[in-house]
Amino acid sequence: MSKFRKKDKGEMPAISTASLPDIVFMLLFFFMVATVMRDSSLMIENKLPSADQVEKLKKDRTIFIYAGKPSSQYKQFGEEPRIQFNDAFIGLEDVQSSIYQGISEMNEELQSKVVVGLKIDKSTNAGLVSDIKQELRKANALKVMYIANTKKVE
């Protein structure tokens, strides 16, 4: 009997896990705030070009337009680069209306500061890009950002 009692005395006190939920909740809130749910899945190949003179993009005032070759599971759309807005392919003539739609969904005070983010695959012809830019000019969305990967300055 005495053997057991001795053991009892020498045991380490259990570490209190009472604060564990607090820690986890803290992390949880951080990720909840930082989360952006992916709202448009890409239907095109999208390898961005790289640049080193980049500026940060303000997400809240940006409308994204994607362009590139349809990716492998959308082969039926052919090989020619296509424009994607939200979840669908759009033609060049729909760019203007899509931009207006995007603007109207934005915060009112940011509507005049709208930036169009162009996420364009690097193998796309620049002709398509200039067509998109023409449409943006017609829609009076004049600030564009060519989204690029950051290249390290040597």
């Binding site: 640049a51 003179q53 004049l142 990967n149």
Partner: protein
Amino acid sequence: MAKRAAPEVNAGSMADIAFLLLIFFLVTTTIAKDKGLLRSLPPIDDSIVEPPIIKQKNLFTVLINRNNQLLVEDEEMPLEDLRKAAIAFLDNGGGTNPAGESCDYCKGEKDESSSDHPEKAIISMKHDRETTYEKYMDVQNELVAAYNFLREREADRLYRKYYPEADKVFTAMLEEKEKNQFSKDEKLNERIETIKNLFPMKLSEAEPDKN
């Protein structure tokens, strides 16, 4: 009467629930990290205005053909040399600005046959429809880099005293502006404008020919 203690709620599974949520948000999180080159497009202007006459020497033409080759000022040039050539052109300062002042901060060669003044110097860029977007971005990047280099140099000359620690003064100024976007710092904005006006970004893009 005996005081009845309220039964304690077992909080042991709280951590499990929180973990479950945490892992869900961990997996769905994509932290925004988009960066890029910010450019403004010219507005569409239907009014017919006589285009101002620009002297050939104030124009720096960059052409990209369908095979992604560069033609700069009628000579073929590798991409690596473009930045240097653009800096030399912008920084030349061979003449006077529209107000008749000569460029006292230019450190270029003051060549008569190159640009008069940074305020007059225009970079004109044209590409073919079949140029790849990658090459187009490379060229844009080099040209923006030329402007940034010169602005950085002027910021260093004028405002180094406010940012003795900074690696790049102009970048530090822009970062400070970004940080204080809710409390406008007039002085800082004025300084940034001064730098920008020393080397105004005049980068025009011609539409590719339709064929």
